[in-house]
């Protein structure tokens, strides 16, 4: 692989393993590991989307799980009505429609709440993103038609021509392709003129404004892109789990997404993927050992924060702090 930098080689290597291993699991009939890999890839998409605003934009959003929920309900609600009637204008199993609904609904929610959140800074921003996510959480808890607290079973997965998401390997491959596209898109965005402004605003907002950039609008745009992308991850997660509940939007889910990004290394292309991988694998491993797995996990989280800034990808690249 001459011609690629060291970091590009690592990226390609990791992504190749992430593609090949699950196919191997599928080949050998280890469906459990295939499904673990699918979940990993879907969460990685969400983490990649969060990295755009958290890592490159410096916006500490503690409410990203809301977009996962919105995306998942955008699959579940149309499917529910397609089966049980009512709300004819959204009742549908059409995958394109559901995906579009997920992305648009997430983008609109990001636009409205982002317009308010981004007027504030620092701690306010963290708390407000958290509060808005909790609002969505309680919103779905209060709607009995969609199961309230208990959640909603998705009886029929999104339907696409030629592509059958009921086959686990297909769902994995689709998710993997979406992940690669998401990584490509985020990478393109952060290196574009828009991305330069976004990163500059993170590093020094006053300076960036003084140059003539309305940093509020740039941030809001990034916020909406990130939300829409995460909504897509939510739609995939709905299809994967075939069950959705407000619990998917609990703020500890948002915390986990943040943790993945930090663990893997913010503002790096591969970081969120590595973080999601470690998170999913370690959580799986620990939860098999003990029902109290959140205890060692929480301690690990504290240890990472206290001792290992720069994250995994920083360590991989040999510049861990």
């Amino acid at each position: 692989m001459i011609g690629f930098s060291r970091s590009a080689r690592i990226n390609i290597g990791v992504m190749a393993i992430l593609a090949i291993l699950p196919v191997f699991f599928w080949w050998t009939g280890q469906t459990f590991y295939l499904s673990l890999a699918t979940r990993l890839v879907i969460l990685a998409i969400a983490a990649v989307s969060l990295n755009l605003i958290l890592g490159y934009g410096g916006l500490i959003s503690f409410g990203h799980a809301a977009y996962i929920g919105i995306g998942a309900y955008a699959v579940g609600i149309p499917a529910h009505h397609a089966l049980y009637g009512g709300m004819d204008f959204i009742a549908s199993n059409n995958g394109f429609f559901q995906i579009a609904l997920a992305v648009v609904a997430a983008a609109v929610f990001a636009l409205i709440t982002g317009a308010i959140c981004l007027r504030t800074k620092g701690v306010y921003f963290i708390m407000i993103t958290m509060a808005f996510a909790q609002m969505v959480y309680y919103f779905f808890v209060s709607i009995e038609e969609y199961g309230g607290d208990d959640g909603l079973v998705i009886d029929t997965r999104s339907e696409f021509p030629l592509v059958n998401l009921d086959q686990p390997i297909v769902l994995f491959l689709v998710s993997y392709v979406v992940l690669v596209l998401a990584m490509w898109l985020v990478n393109a965005i952060v290196n574009s003129r828009f991305g330069m402004v976004l990163q500059s605003a993170k590093g020094n907002n006053d300076r960036t404004v003084t140059l003539g950039y309305n940093t509020y609008l740039y941030r809001l745009t990034a916020y909406v892109i990130s939300g829409a992308m995460c909504g897509l991850a939510g739609a995939l997660l709905g299809n994967f789990a075939t069950f959705i509940s407000p619990e998917m939007m609990d703020w500890s889910r948002s915390g986990e997404l943040m943790f993945m990004v930090i663990l893997g290394g913010t503002a790096t292309a591969l970081g969120p993927v590595l973080g999601a991988a470690v998170f999913v694998v370690v959580a799986q491993f620990l939860s098999e050992l003990t029902i109290y797995w959140h205890l060692p996990f929480g301690l690990m989280l504290i240890a990472v924060v206290l001792f290992a800034r720069g994250g995994l990808s920083g360590i991989l690249r040999g510049k861990g702090s």
Binding site: V123, A131, I262, H294, L295, L299, L301
Partner: protein, 317 residues
């Protein structure tokens, strides 16, 4: 809480009064949680997500002590210093190393702490909630006027909440410690220059905040049970309180807590009746729960759009 849903009900003033009291009660509990949060943030510039865990710990410790010593009030008195010590330990081992870091590290570190504390409670007390028995004289109801009766314990919560609020105002505004706290909030170097050990001051403030949150947990436990995760629900509402009130402002926390306690309680109780005034009964009953669940967040959004610094931004920051 038991509205008859036949036709358009006349506004039941007894019910309105009782729900208002419930709202005040929720508001005061929110204030106890939010005041510690805002104190710690205002002085230490530290975001403590695990503040809600102290609320939960207060409830569990008080529950166990109630069974041990056989008296709820005595249990509260013993549990208070214990939560204070827990707060101190958290300050010493998790918060203090993070003061110099940015807010992102604060939230991640304390998020990890929540997982640790929630699971520890699970380990020690088991997964189920614990009901906390009250002494007989607090079990009953008190007739206030006319046919209005309210549970005596709810009145006690309100009284205790008001007393704690008053004590806190006195502490912050009229004592030497309060002066240091206020000075420390606006000017750390000045306090250090006065020869005050700022490290101990911070630890003290943290422990005080822990005790306030713990107290709220102890007071609510006889009504709701002590349960895992109870802190994680109230902490977000407490965030909404200090955002609306203005982060770092004690006065803001007080008024915002009452406002939000009332809006949330009254919204859940009466929004459907209110909607029935201008929409069909079915439509009202479908839309009211969703909207009342979102009411306080909508309030927060409105306040922020008009005053991004909250209703009572602290003067010095």
């Amino acid at each position: 809480m038991f509205v008859l849903k036949s036709g358009i009900p006349p506004l039941d003033t007894t019910l309105l009064f009782v729900q208002t009291l419930n709202g005040v009660q929720l508001g005061l509990l929110l204030f106890l949680v939010a005041s510690g949060l805002t104190l710690v943030f205002g002085i230490l510039d530290f975001v403590n997500l695990a503040h809600g865990s102290l609320y939960m710990l207060g409830a569990f410790i008080c529950a166990s002590l109630t069974f041990l010593v056989g008296n709820f009030l005595l249990a509260v008195l013993i549990a208070l210093p214990i939560t204070g010590v827990l707060g101190y330990l958290i300050e010493r081992f998790v918060a203090r190393p993070l003061y110099a870091r940015d807010h992102l590290d604060h939230v991640l570190g304390t998020f990890g702490l929540i997982l640790v504390l929630d699971t520890s409670v699970h380990l020690i007390w088991g997964p189920a909630g614990i009901a906390v028995p009250l002494p007989a004289w607090l079990e009953g109801q008190v007739g206030l006027f006319g046919d209005v009766v309210v549970p005596s314990f709810r009145l006690l919560i309100i009284a205790a909440g008001l007393a704690a609020a008053a004590g806190l105002f006195w502490l912050v505004n009229y004592t030497r410690l309060g002066m240091l706290i206020r000075a420390g909030a606006s000017n750390r170097t000045m306090v250090s220059a006065l020869g005050i050990d700022i490290q101990s001051l911070f630890a003290l403030v943290f422990a005080l905040g822990a005790m306030l949150a713990g107290l709220a947990g102890m007071l609510i436990a006889p009504i709701t049970e002590a349960s895992i995760g109870m802190g994680n629900n109230i902490i977000i509402t407490a965030f909404v309180v200090i955002i609306v009130g203005g982060i770092g402002s004690m006065k803001g926390a007080f008024f915002a807590a009452l406002l939000i306690g009332l809006i949330d309680t009254l919204g859940r109780a009466f929004l459907d009746d209110f909607f029935k005034l201008f929409m069909s009964s079915d439509a009202a009953e479908n839309s009211a729960p969703a909207l009342s669940a979102m009411l306080i967040y909508i309030l927060m959004a409105v306040v922020l759009s008009v005053r991004p610094q909250g209703l009572f931004p602290p003067k010095v920051r």
